[in-house]
Every structure is written in structure tokens, then in C-alpha cells.
């Protein structure tokens, strides 16, 4: 309805452009340092060693005897570790949010695993899980003199160990996100729940968790993305090939089989497949949890 006159329309355009200008650096940065390597990988994954277009790489990935086990192992780890980590982190966050004397120190204690570098964690568990390691020593002091051969167990035992070890390190970062979210919930909301006759569990289920929904989404999505990409701790503890998972395959083909010409192509193929799987999983989660649409708007 307003007739825009020269100067004003310029100001209008300018103020509309500000958010885009603020985002521009990220876009440029990603164009330079993300899109390029990704495109290159995509490109490589469709090329043979002579540089011709081929689907051979994917065929090889799918016929890799370790492919199916890798997908299966990854799926198991993701399902169990995300669930376990989320529940444990929620529990810890609620505990720390009670603001007891010393809760700030306890927060620090709970954050220590997060601060430890992967290699340090690798060293820690490697020395713990060997037959003469500290875990068996601890059991010995507690009266169990039979040595347990932790890393010699079945695949299922190894998966369980990996899930627990991973949880130990990752729970803090999930917890922190949830804790911050919890602190944003006004005390009155929960108190009202109690006043109107709720007990701890109903207040948690009907008030706290629904109000925490977008925080939970953020925490779980970040965790989901990185859980699918787990590999380093496994290689540190068990070496390659013992318990194949998806990203381990990428590194394996790139780092450990350099003699083969096709290793880089195999690695690229695996990379693309992993990214597709991660993206689908993430989108699926976001869809199911209702992050698109209504809720997100309601937050603003």
C-alpha cells in the first residue's frame, strides 16, 4: 500500500539484507571448505582408477563382506548408545539441576570424561581391558580373582563394551545441553505441577519433558549424528576389521590398504553411503520428533 520512494526503498532492502549478510560468511566458508571436498568425494565415488564414470565402486562397497556387518554393528551401537546416553544424561541433568550443596563441583566431575581426548580415553581403556589391566586388578581387590578376557569375547560382548565406553565419554555433553534446557524452564511451571497434585514422575512426564522438547531434539540429533560416525575408540581397542563399523571402513580403505589402487574409490563410496545414512537417520528423527513445523514456530 505504501508507495516506496527511492531513499526509503533502499533502506528497506538494506535492512532486509542484514540477516543474509550475517549468514554470508558461513555460506562462503562452507562453499570453500565443505562443499568442495564433499563434491570431490562424490565425484571420486563415481570414477574408476582411469578416471571414467562407473558404478563399480558402489558395487564393490555393497559386495564387501564386511559391509552388512558394518551396517548392522553401527545400527546396534546407535540405537543402544543414543538411548542409554540420553536416559543417563537426563538423569544426571535432573540431579544436578536440584542445586544441592556441591552440585557445581559435581557438574565438573561429570564433565571430566568429555574433556579427555580420544587418545587418552583409548589409552585408559586399553590399559583397563587387557587381562592384566586395571579393571581385572580392581575386580581382584574386590575379591574376584578370576581374570576376565574383556576383548576376547563374542561380538555381542564387544559391542556392549563399546557402547558402555562410548557412553562414559559422551554422556556429559548430552547432559550439559539438557541441563541448560532444564534451567530455562521456570520453576513455577514444575511447582504448579506439584501444587495440582502431580508426583515426581507425572511432573517429569507431563511438564518437564514436554517443555524440554526442543532441547531434547537438539541433544539427540547432535548425538545421533556423531554416534553413527563412531570408530576411533574401536580401532584403538581392537584394531581394524575386528568389529567393522561404517566409518571404520572409510578409514580402513584409505589408510590401511594404500597398496590397492581402488582404495581411495572404495573409501569415497563408503563416505557417500555413510553420509546418506546419517542424513536419512537425522531427517527421520527430526520428522518423527516434530522438529519441523509447529513446534519450532511456537518457540519464537
Amino acid at each position: 500500500m505504501a508507495v516506496a520512494i527511492g531513499n526509503k526503498s533502499f533502506r528497506n532492502v538494506w535492512s532486509k539484507a542484514i540477516p543474509y549478510l550475517l549468514i554470508l560468511p558461513v555460506v562462503v566458508y562452507y562453499a570453500l571448505f565443505w562443499v568442495r571436498p564433499v563434491l570431490k568425494t562424490v565425484f571420486e565415488s563415481f570414477r574408476d582408477t582411469a578416471g571414467q564414470f562407473t558404478l563399480q565402486n558402489y558395487a564393490m562397497v555393497f559386495s564387501d563382506p564386511d559391509f552388512i556387518p558394518a551396517v548392522r554393528n553401527t545400527a546396534i551401537i546407535v540405537v543402544f548408545s543414543v538411548t542409554l546416553e540420553f536416559l543417563a544424561a537426563l538423569f544426571l541433568a535432573i540431579l544436578i539441576n536440584r542445586k544441592f550443596v556441591g552440585s557445581s563441583f559435581f557438574l565438573f566431575v561429570a564433565m571430566v570424561p568429555m574433556a579427555l581426548p580420544a587418545v587418552a580415553v583409548g589409552a585408559m581403556w586399553l590399559t583397563g581391558l587387557t587381562a592384566h589391566g586395571w579393571l581385572n586388578s580392581l575386580l581382584f581387590y574386590l575379591g574376584v580373582s578370576k581374570k576376565i578376557y574383556w576383548l576376547a569375547g563374542s561380538e555381542w560382548a564387544l559391542l556392549a563394551i563399546i557402547i558402555i565406553i562410548d557412553a562414559w565419554q559422551v554422556i556429559p555433553s548430552v547432559m550439559i545441553i539438557l541441563l541448560a534446557g532444564l534451567q530455562n524452564i521456570p520453576v513455577e511451571a514444575e511447582e504448579a505441577g506439584y501444587v495440582f497434585g502431580g508426583n515426581f514422575i507425572t511432573v517429569l512426564r507431563k511438564i518437564t519433558i514436554p517443555m524440554l522438547q526442543s532441547t531434547i531434539q537438539t541433544a539427540v540429533i547432535l548425538r545421533l549424528i556423531s554416534a553413527i560416525q563412531i570408530w576411533l575408540i574401536m580401532v584403538l581397542l581392537m584394531g581394524f576389521n575386528r568389529l567393522p563399523v561404517l566409518v571404520e571402513r572409510i578409514v580402513y580403505y584409505h589408510e590401511e590398504v594404500p597398496g590397492l589402487d581402488i582404495s581411495f574409490q572404495m573409501a569415497s563410496g563408503y563416505t557417500i553411503i555413510v553420509s546418506v545414512i546419517v542424513s536419512i537417520a537425522a531427517l527421520l528423527y527430526l520428522k518423527v520428533s516434530g522438529a519441523f513445523g509447529g513446534n519450532q514456530e511456537a518457540r519464537q
Partner: protein, 363 residues
């Protein structure tokens, strides 16, 4: 010191929401003008456009004879008290008040002098070293006031500055703000949706509804000469009573008739009834303008439904069909529910509204 003029100012958010619509207003130099209206009627938006925090979709804003429509806030020489105070939590009271002066590169000793002076005016001179989190709500509000005075603005904008205070503090702050206005003589626009605040403070009141100006006038004007049903209903507690009446002419005289009342209004009203013969009108009468009388003089007789004693007076409610009529009567004698009351209207206070336009007739 300056006048503030808004010409045809319109603000549209997105495609659908028109928050302020062709707003025209002239605020006199040194005037204390109150914007009054129900929640969501566009008061804050109007004020933010004056401050430059919101771009206008159309129209012009002038301070004095400067066109400030396209100036950024800092060049308008206005200051503002925000609805939620917006005192900066990481600065001491002193720094909060001195912020604008520092930006103006005022010398240090002068800043200190000014800050002390306005802090004295607002009674917070002992709190200068504290942070906002160490202050009570009322004290934070004073900081917001002091910060706004310190710049000696041409236009002083206040967005519901008292709405977060308790009832008692609110009343005393009213007096203080008025006193400060008298001292600084800054042209002031004060936003509120509390009508008693508006009535007690304003030189003139602007009544807004759905982004539009409905009436501009002195507190007496809007109260006694409400321009529309909306204003008559919005201003006053309890609000104006409304009765649907038919106009009937009887040998040159006009009567107002409905199943409960049938009377001949005084001559000054009769004049305006000429155009409404045989038509339908809305009669508005304020509760304090209905008086208890004897059966003979009564215009209206009905049973008392409830009576609420208020100390100095009582509010008597009667029911006519689906409608309640409220009457303010003196505290004695006490009227009990079920008792029949005989009522008469103070004729000179009657307002008549056209049901189609909802506007008052006869002005």
C-alpha cells in the same frame, strides 16, 4: 522541547497484521499525552515508531518541524522508558544512567553531575554503585526513569512504565512521574491500558482501538463526552450502562421507550432526536448518574439483584431481561437483594449512540 506530529502513520506487519492504521496526532509542546487502549491495540507499536525502533509502513513523523521518519533512533533526540525497563544488567546504576552521556562524549565531571542530579530527582542517589539485580522492581523502574531523563530529550516516551509495580507503589510513582514532567517540561507520550492512570495523569488522552484513534480529548472529554460506545464502555469502572431505546414522537415531543423505560428527555437532547424519529438508539448512562428516588419520580423500577458495598458507596446491580444495570449509590441506606429500587437518570449526563455507526449523536 518540541511538538510531535504523526501524519497518516501506518504500520503493517507481514501481509495481514495492521498494527497501526492512518494514525494522526499532534502533541503539543510540554504536553503530557496518554495513549490508552486495550491490549494489542497498537500502543507500543505507535510509540516504537516514534522512537525509530520500528520502520513506518507509510506516513510521516515530525518532531518540531524536523521530519524524523527515516532517522535512526539515536538521531531523534527522544528517550524512552521500556515496558520491561530494559535496564542493562551488566552495568551499575551509574553506568546505566551515564551511558547515553558517555556516547555523547560529555566530559566526565559533567556526566557525574548530571547523573547525580537525575538520581536525586528519582530518589536513587544511594544506589548508584549497585547492579540492577540488586534492586527491587520499583528501584529498577526509577533507574529506567533516571536514565531517560538524563539525556534531556525533546520527546519523552513511556511504555506502561508502571504496569509491573504493586498497586500502592504505582499510585505514588504516578505523582512522582508527573512531578518530574513538571520539572523537565519534556513533551511526554505515556502508554497505558490502565484508565485510572490515564485519567489522573493526562493533559489529553488518546483512545485507541485496533490500531486506530477513536477519540482524543481531555480526561473530562473522554469520560463525560465519550465519542463512541467503545469509549463509553472502556472508560470508567463500572462501565457505562447501555439501554436499547426506540425514539417515539408524541405531539412534537420525543420520548425514549423500551419495555422498561418510557420517558421524555430534556430539551437539549430532544434537538438531536429529530433525525432519529422512529428509529432505534443506544442510551448510555454512567452508574453514578443514576439516582435513587421515590416511586413517583422513577424512570425505572426493578428488583436489586446484588449490592456490593465499597465503603464510601455501594454498587447496586439490577437485572433487566438479559442485561445488568449498575448503579452507584451512597453507602446508606444499605440496599438488600430483592428490595425494589426506584431509579431516575441525571438528564444532563445522558449520551445517545447510533447503533449503526456506534458513534455518539448530538455533539
Amino acid at each position: 522541547m518540541a511538538t510531535l506530529t504523526m501524519q497518516d502513520v501506518t504500520k503493517q506487519f507481514g501481509r495481514k497484521v495492521i498494527a497501526v492504521k492512518e494514525f494522526n496526532l499532534e502533541v503539543q509542546d510540554q504536553e503530557f499525552l496518554v495513549l490508552l487502549g486495550p491490549s494489542g491495540c497498537g500502543k507500543t507499536t505507535a510509540m516504537r515508531m516514534v522512537a525509530g525502533l520500528e520502520e513506518v509502513t507509510n506516513g510521516r513523523i515530525l518532531i518540531g518541524d524536523r521530519d524524523v521518519t527515516d532517522l535512526p533512533p539515536r538521531n531523534r533526540n527522544v528517550s524512552m522508558i521500556f515496558q520491561n525497563y530494559a535496564v542493562w544488567p551488566h552495568m551499575t546504576v551509574f553506568d546505566n544512567i551515564g551511558f547515553a552521556l558517555k556516547l555523547k562524549k560529555m566530559p566526565k565531571d559533567e556526566i557525574e553531575k548530571t547523573v547525580k542530579e537525575v538520581a536525586g530527582m528519582t530518589n536513587i542517589d544511594m544506589l548508584l554503585e549497585r547492579y540492577p539485580s540488586q534492586l527491587s522492581g520499583g528501584q529498577q523502574q526509577r533507574v529506567a526513569v533516571a536514565r531517560a531523563i538524563a539525556v534531556y530529550p525533546e520527546i519523552f516516551l513511556m511504555d506502561e512504565p508502571l504496569s509491573n509495580l504493586d498497586a500502592k507503589l504505582r499510585v505514588s510513582m504516578r505523582t512522582e512521574l508527573k512531578a518530574i514532567h513538571d520539572k523537565t517540561e519534556a513533551t511526554t507520550v505515556f502508554v497505558t491500558h490502565d484508565q485510572s492512570e490515564a485519567m489522573s495523569m493526562a493533559d489529553r488522552i488518546v483512545i485507541m482501538k485496533d490500531g486506530e484513534v477513536i477519540q482524543v480529548g481531555s480526561p473530562d472529554d473522554v469520560y463525560h463526552r465519550s465519542a463512541s460506545i467503545f469509549v463509553a464502555d472502556f472508560i470508567g469502572t463500572p462501565p457505562t450502562n447501555f439501554l436499547e431505546v426506540d425514539v417515539k414522537s408524541e405531539n412534537g415531543d420525543y420520548r425514549l421507550v423500551n419495555p422498561h423505560v418510557d420517558f421524555k428527555p430534556e430539551s437539549h437532547i430532544s434537538e438531536s432526536l429529530r433525525d432519529y424519529d422512529k428509529k432505534n438508539l443506544i442510551l448510555g448512562i454512567r452508574p453514578e448518574n443514576i439516582v435513587l428516588t421515590n416511586q413517583k419520580d422513577a424512570v425505572l423500577s426493578a428488583e436489586c439483584l446484588v449490592s456490593e458495598p465499597q465503603g464510601s458507596h455501594q454498587v447496586v446491580a439490577i437485572q433487566l431481561d438479559q442485561q445488568y444495570i449498575k448503579v452507584i449509590a451512597s453507602a446508606q441506606p444499605k440496599i438488600n437483594p430483592g428490595e425494589t429500587v426506584h431509579l431516575a437518570f441525571k438528564q444532563d449526563t445522558l449520551r445517545l449512540f447510533d447503533p449503526e455507526t456506534t458513534l455518539a449523536i448530538g455533539d
